[in-house]
Symmetry: C2
Subunit: 183 residues, 2 copies
């Protein structure tokens, strides 16, 4: 809506867009403040800005990538992260044949450098793009290094402490989530 230049919207319009109820929209927003005007609805521009602040998307976040295979190196040449507030700042791998090589404009560093890099640069997010068998040990290393958010491409469940958040990207898993409802 914001990109389309729309000026005002309502809880009803947002609800239809998202497939939930208008009461849900209003109740959810009410937990963070009063953003609407009776009779008018919500200013798209200011609601957009409020939501960016609420979700902490009003700043740039740094991101390291562990694993310099297919997925990892695809990230290096994809501008979508930087455009949307996530700056890729370093690549790591534990394979001696890959350490020292270039991935995009980055030189791959050894996994043993992760802890010092993360603490010196206050990085909070990491992407795991290593084979499934190494993913848990990389996760442990990241947690010990101080990483608080992990985007995991390995098709395996990670065990991490409560205060660390993990998001999973596994195309097959996503397909599997839908089959229950079919046939």
């Amino acid at each position: 809506m914001h990109e389309g230049g729309k000026l005002y919207t309502s809880s009803h319009e947002l609800a239809e867009w998202l497939g939930i109820s208008s009461a849900q929209i209003r109740k959810d927003l009410s937990h963070f403040g009063e953003f609407g005007k009776q009779g008018t609805g919500y200013s798209v521009a200011s609601l957009y800005e409020e939501l960016r602040q609420i979700l902490h998307l009003d700043r740039e976040w740094q991101l390291i990538v562990v694993g310099s295979g297919n997925i990892g190196s695809a990230v290096a040449s994809y501008s979508g992260f930087a455009q949307r507030g996530f700056r890729v700042v370093a690549f790591f791998d534990n394979d001696p044949n890959k350490v020292g090589a270039k991935v995009g404009s980055f030189i791959v560093q050894d996994n043993s450098e992760i802890a010092s890099y993360v603490s010196e640069n206050h990085v909070q997010h990491a992407m795991i793009a290593v084979p499934a068998q190494y993913a848990q040990q990389v996760a442990d290393l990241l947690v010990d290094s101080g990483i608080r958010g992990i985007l995991n491409y390995a098709p395996i469940n990670l065990s991490v402490p409560d205060y660390v958040h993990v998001e999973y990207i596994d195309p097959v898993l996503h397909l599997q989530k839908m089959t229950y409802y079919l046939e």
Copy 2:
């Protein structure tokens, strides 16, 4: 656990693994049947099989891919789908320069062929790997063709009827889900 050759597990062990309560595990399973033995727990092999049946993962599903750019063609050379029960059966694109070209062992067909292909082959799942600006119209076409599950790689929200299920893969969106909890 199954791959590791484990014979028995308990609601407590599963709960710790998944980070939820043991009562939740037992209650959830109880909605589908009685799979455990008092004093012993659950047989890993038979629980695995029961879950595959409950989730409809005890069969092979077919999958078409719309969009033959970077993401689409990566799928063609990735064996993980077939290994885990999802067979990629056709590629489509609306770009005349791509229609007729080969992607892996597939010949890219025109989007106008989707409806007949889907109904003739009873395909239920599709992957959308087209630029964001075309994603909604592709989704509409897929829904009209009879597709019931969509895996969407375009960084945009899709509007579809209730009976169609959509899963989103957008790395930045997944990162954005975590920032609220940080800083």
